[in-house]
């Protein structure tokens, strides 16, 4: 575990800085006193158990929820993100865990929602071409972009949501479990993509439960547990270390399972990959 100020790509400036963010939902404290820094050209992975408050944090940054307390500093200014439009204007693009697509609109309309070309006479042809380009870039397997999103498969929808966020020219990209529903090829493309945008100097916050992916692209791994900061790790931290920070115990389901499998493998003497 490293201390809060350490980061690998600190040559660039601070893009986002959170201090003391708290958020209650009724009697549940979803977030308590969260601190987080994100620099330009850096990929910060946000990991944590289910219900740890990761999505709540992302939603606060996206302007969906208002925090109950705490300050948000974006590019040196203290900002009030009281509306998703405000976030978007500042240059924060978000892929939400629940995707936030309009099921009744088709793929093209969803990708361009709020940013249509030619407001008074929508340029459907240009939008459709751009949509195909974006989707192909992500290796998407979508038969038709003129079907309503309701008829797409889970992974196809997720691809659409990711394609949406590429349309902006943001300073900070928030990806809430962007690869959860994606196939192997699409996941690889998204990880490539994250590296590309990082190299272009953008800041990326990625949430994922897949430690492989996290370690592959992240420059820093921030762990949340039960709504509180629970340590910051380098990507070369061991799996064991990360998992105990996430679950809050070194004896957890993951380690038990690993032990058991180890045991049964040795027992059956039939190694599996």
């Amino acid at each position: 575990m490293t201390d809060l100020t350490s980061q690998s790509n600190s040559q660039n400036g601070l893009v986002l800085s959170l201090r003391g963010i708290s958020k209650n939902f009724g009697a549940v404290s979803a977030l308590t006193n969260i601190d987080l820094d994100v620099h330009a050209g850096e990929v910060v992975a946000l990991v944590g158990d289910n219900g740890a408050g990761k999505s709540t944090l992302v939603k606060i940054l996206a302007g969906v929820h208002l925090p109950d307390s705490g300050t948000i500093t974006f590019c040196r200014d203290i900002v009030a993100l009281d509306d998703p439009a405000a976030s978007l204007r500042l240059g924060i693009a978000t892929v939400f865990q629940d995707l936030a697509l309009c099921e009744n609109l088709d793929v093209v309309a969803n990708i361009f929602l709020g940013r249509e070309l030619d407001p008074w006479r929508l340029d459907e042809v240009a939008m459709e071409i751009r949509a195909w380009t974006l989707l192909n870039e992500l290796s998407a397997r979508i038969p038709s972009v003129r079907e309503p999103v309701a008829s797409l498969s889970g992974g196809q929808r997720q691809t659409v949501a990711i394609a949406r966020s590429l349309l902006l020219e943001p300073k900070l990209i928030l990806l809430d479990e962007p690869t959860a529903a994606l196939g192997v090829a699409q996941t690889a493309e998204v990880l490539d993509l994250i590296e590309r945008v990082r190299d272009r100097g953008l800041a990326v916050v990625m949430i994922s439960h897949n430690m492989e992916d996290v370690r592959a692209v992240a420059d820093r791994i921030v762990v949340l547990r039960l709504g509180r900061n629970n340590g910051i790790f380098h990507p070369d931290a061991s799996n064991q270390e990360l998992v105990s920070a996430i679950t809050g115990a070194s004896n957890n389901a993951v380690s038990r399972r690993a032990e058991r499998r180890q045991g049964s493998r040795e027992h059956s003497r039939e190694p599996r990959p």
Partner: protein
């Protein structure tokens, strides 16, 4: 494994690259695509049109006057007034809200025109303008109640229904009803003014040409961009069929008085709204807000402004419809806008295919729906029925008219296409 297939696919247009999608090119392909859609119930307005044809055949066989040019011209006049109100209802249903006060607002607008124009002798255009503005202001009030206080539109517009009715009664309090002068341009517009045959024929031809031209331009651009596009032949065919149908309708109506200007206005409004709803950024945001309000908000759409425009448009169309019905009746009365105006306007939108739950609907549903409703009403006025029978039959015919559409929708749903 499927490498050869993939290679073959790469030569296809960008949007036909997926091998699973059947590309229906040519006439045979179009036919197959159509049959496919029939089977899966994805037919747009066709089922309602079929329902309409059934109704018309039945009424025609009961009384041959029904399809006479004369009666059809009356029908078109009658459609236009409530139709304009239904157009506003389409807007508000689009965003998943409702306006129960369109009847009251229409009545109030007609009262305003009566009082301002006839009693206070303002120029007609100014009175109409004032009525439209006040109508829009009522809509804006609903929007504020909705946006600021989160008051459900059902409740706020119910309150509005009562309050505006009160205003209407108050305005007409001393006189009860006001005659609009016969022979004035407004009343002529509502009662007798029809397009000269030449104009009507030209408009019909121009419509067909415009439909063809826009489709052709799009097709050309798509082809150029490497997307699939409909063939010139099928576009030409469609343009010609549309033109011929329209010309025939115009010809038939011209046997009697001709095509009412009021109906022309209504259709023009429908076409304009259709354009606005499908081809502008605003229309897209209306669809998005109706489909998933939160998603629209997260996309940075100004949701409040969208609701505002929807409420204002709805109330303004209601006011316009009220003015048209005053013109049609040559009178502004206390009863204007009461009774079943609300229900008819909402029903027209719903029958035409607009969803009560938002995010699904077209401007054309107002046109189609009101034609269905008025056809039933008109068909029944031609039969000598007691009130009780008339009510029963209206109900039954309404159900029949919608049943085809309902069946199509069901099959659409069972094919996994909501």
């Amino acid at each position: 494994m499927n490498g050869d297939k993939e290679r073959r696919a790469t030569s296809a247009p960008l949007d036909r690259a997926d091998e699973r999608i059947r590309s229906d090119t040519g006439l045979a392909g179009a036919t197959r695509a159509f049959l496919d859609r029939v089977r899966s119930g994805d037919l747009g307005a066709l089922p309602v049109v079929i329902g309409l044809v059934i109704i018309c055949t039945a009424f025609q066989s009961l009384n041959p006057v029904f399809l006479s040019s004369n009666n059809l011209v009356n029908l078109l006049f009658d459609c236009s007034t409530v139709g304009v109100i239904a157009l506003g209802i389409v807007c508000i249903l689009m965003v998943g809200e409702i306006d129960l006060s369109v009847g009251s607002v229409s009545g109030f607008a007609s009262a305003m025109v009566g009082v301002l124009w006839v009693n206070m002798e303002w120029p007609a255009w100014l009175a109409i303008f004032a009525a439209l503005v006040v109508g829009g202001a009522i809509g804006a009030l609903y929007a504020v109640l909705f946006n600021r206080f989160g008051m459900p539109s059902f409740v706020s517009t119910l309150a509005g229904l009562l309050a505006v009715l009160g205003l209407q009664l108050y305005l007409l309090g001393s006189t009860g009803s006001i005659n609009l002068p016969y022979g004035s341009p407004l009343v002529n517009f509502g009662q007798t003014l029809v397009m000269p045959p030449a104009v009507a024929y030209t408009l019909a031809a121009v419509t067909g040409a415009v439909v063809f031209a826009t489709a052709f331009r799009t097709a050309a651009r798509r082809k150029q961009a490497g997307l699939s596009a409909r063939s010139l032949g099928s576009l030409l065919l469609r343009g010609i069929v549309i033109t011929i149908i329209l010309e025939l309708v115009v010809y038939y109506l011209n046997q009697d008085r001709g095509v009412p200007w009021m109906f022309g206005l209504f259709v023009a409004l429908v076409v304009a709204m259709n354009y606005a709803l499908t081809r502008t950024k605003w229309g897209r945001s209306m669809n998005a807000v109706g489909g998933n309000r939160e998603a629209a908000r997260r996309a940075g759409i100004n949701v409040r402004r969208t609701y505002m425009t929807a409420f204002v448009l709805c109330a303004t169309f209601a006011a316009a419809g009220g003015i048209l019905s005053a013109a049609r009746l040559a009178s502004a009365s206390q009863q204007a806008g009461t009774g079943d105006v609300n229900l008819n306007a909402i029903a027209a939108a719903v029958i035409g295919g607009t969803s009560l739950f938002g995010g699904r609907g077209t401007a054309y549903s107002a046109l189609l729906g009101i034609i269905v409703i008025q056809s039933i009403a008109s068909g029944l006025t031609l039969l000598d029925l007691s009130s009780s029978l008339r009510y029963m039959i209206t109900g039954a015919v309404l159900a029949v008219a919608v049943i085809v559409d309902s069946l199509a929708r069901r099959s659409r749903m069972s094919h996994g296409r909501a």
